[in-house]
């Protein structure tokens, strides 16, 4: 299976640049998290990758072919988005039947198991489902189609905590049954930390992080202690944020710590978790002052 790449991908809506010069390389059989603030362009990127909308410039490359036009049938990619592209008056059973017809094959066993686990009646119509159940059903279909690249845009929209945990388990199960690339776009960063292998973070129309989870966490530090000593130690490092609580001063760093720099006894260094790293990496200037 080949990589899915974007080359100098740019998307504009009118004069508004939504994505700017993105160069991505999505590897086969890998679970990705696509993170970003509201309006960062996550859905736009996934829609372009799945050929639902088109880039203003640049290209998507698959199997050494550029997928820039409107007539590339790319069943290897499947996008589950927040938009409902099913006929609302169709029953779930009927949608599965139609999807099987167009996709050629369908993992009916997984779909049946998930429908049962989530107590979804296949005879129900899409219009009868709540937001959460509609999201679950769309995810069930996305995990059951034979696509090699599955893009899940907000797969936990409207789901309660129990259903979210179940859904994460089924995403893993689907992946274990048949390895494929899954790109999860979500705001619940910490919940997917153990699920994904690679992180992409979009900020200000650019990808600012394209890294394995371990590498990202390995470079994310909170360094606390007396202000002068912390500042001295952090000199030259990429400081994302700092805060003063009482006498304790903390710097948030995204960098490899210099091996030759002596760590004073008065300062404490610990790794940030994924959520903290994400927040600090994507925080706006004005938000830092709040």
């Amino acid at each position: 299976m080949s990589n899915l790449e974007t080359k100098h991908l740019t998307k504009k809506f009118g004069n508004q640049v939504v994505l700017d010069d993105l160069n991505l390389n999505l590897k086969p059989n890998t679970i990705y998290a696509l993170l970003g603030r509201n309006g960062a362009g996550k859905s736009t990127l996934l829609s372009i990758l799945a050929n639902h909308i088109f880039a203003s410039s640049g290209s998507v490359v698959w199997q050494d072919k550029e997928l820039t036009g409107r007539d590339h049938p790319v069943q290897e990619f499947y996008l589950m988005s927040e938009h409902n592209l099913f006929n609302k008056s169709d029953s779930l059973k009927n949608i599965i039947k139609k999807t099987t017809l167009l996709q050629g094959t369908f993992d009916q066993t997984l779909a049946d198991e998930m429908l049962l686990a989530f107590k979804l009646d296949p005879k129900k119509k899409v219009s009868q489902l709540s937001t959460g159940y509609r999201t679950i059903f769309k995810t069930i279909v996305a995990l059951s189609v034979p696509a090699e690249y599955v893009f899940l845009d907000e797969p936990i929209l409207g789901l309660d905590a129990n259903h979210r945990v179940m859904l994460y388990r089924y995403i893993l199960k689907a992946y274990e049954n048949r390895a494929r690339t899954i790109v999860l776009s979500t705001h619940l960063v910490e919940e997917i930390a153990n699920l994904v292998a690679h992180i992409l973070i979009l900020k200000d129309v650019k990808i600012i992080v394209d890294s394995d989870v371990e590498d990202l966490l390995a470079k994310s530090y909170q360094i606390s202690g007396p202000k002068e000593e912390v500042q001295l130690y952090c000199q030259g490092l990429q400081i994302l944020d700092d805060e003063q609580i009482g006498t304790l001063y903390t710097c948030y760093i995204y960098a490899d710590l210099p091996a030759n720099r002596i760590i004073p006894d008065s300062i404490v260094i610990k790794h940030s978790d994924l959520q903290d790293s994400f927040i600090k990496l994507t925080e706006e200037e004005r938000e830092l002052n709040v």
């Binding site: 050929n51 639902h52 049938p73 990619f77 938009h83 592209l85 996709q103």
Partner: protein, 249 residues
């Protein structure tokens, strides 16, 4: 993928057609029975039921197909894109399924109705005249082509497009009147009569398929709308994405 999409569209179309057909036929039978009971004359039932059923089937299937020409732009398109069906395949299957179904339903019901009508009302119009059949088919096709063009255009821009549709129609009709029609009239002086008044073509008997006018009408009323619809569908994207982005950003 073409076959799968075609099967998907045909299944949806024929499900609709069969439901509509069964409803209208049941309605026809019940009406005829009630009428016969009221008149206490069951000879009415035996003499007109056949024509009623054939005419009912023909009218309802053709009307249903015209309605489907208006309504099959968005939903099958979205579902096709979701499942990796290209825009071109989606559009071609729309045309093949709709026009193919029209031909099949027409071929099923029209000859039955024509035979029954001709045997009952001999001496009046011969419904089985091949020229008449072709003209009726072309007439239905032109309505369907117009419906596909309008629905594709509206779907391209979604809800807030009605004023654009009206404006575009005015502009296009004015441009056609000002620039294209004079050229056609200059080339083919008889065109105006044919275009403005279909009766200018004379009776069905006088209809000559060798005349360029007829084919110009076919071009203007069927081919051009379908090309226009194809262009619209080429630029179409999945539901609400374009609009929501334009609104939010």
């Amino acid at each position: 993928m073409f076959k799968a999409m075609l099967k998907y569209r045909l299944t949806a179309i024929w499900r609709d057609l069969i439901i509509a057909f069964l409803i209208i036929e049941a309605f026809m039978i019940i009406t005829e029975i009630i009428l016969s009971i009221k008149l206490a004359d069951f000879s009415v039932l035996s003499s007109t039921l056949g024509i009623s059923l054939a005419a009912g089937g023909l009218i309802v299937t053709q009307a249903d197909l015209i309605i489907l020409s208006f309504t099959t732009a968005r939903k099958p398109f979205d579902f096709g894109i979701l499942n990796g069906i290209s825009r071109k395949t989606s559009y071609i299957t729309q045309l093949v399924s709709l026009f193919g179904s029209q031909l099949v339903t027409f071929v099923i019901f029209y000859p039955i109705m024509g035979i029954l009508f001709n045997s009952r009302y001999s001496g009046t119009t011969n419904l089985l005249d091949p020229k008449m059949i072709i003209v009726i088919i072309l007439g239905i096709w032109s309505i369907m082509a117009g419906a596909i063009a309008i629905s594709s255009f509206v779907t391209l821009f979604e809800r807030k497009i009605w004023w654009v549709v009206l404006g575009a129609w005015l502009v296009v009709s004015k441009l056609f009147e000002a620039y294209i029609q004079p050229v056609i009239v200059n080339l083919l002086p008889g065109w105006q009569n044919y275009y403005n008044d279909f009766s200018g073509m004379g009776s069905i008997d006088e209809l000559d398929f060798g005349q360029p006018y007829l084919w110009l009408i076919v071009l203007v009323s069927i081919v051009i709308p379908l090309v226009f619809a194809g262009v619209c569908q080429y630029f179409m994207q999945t539901k609400r994405l374009t609009l929501s982005f334009k609104r939010n950003k």
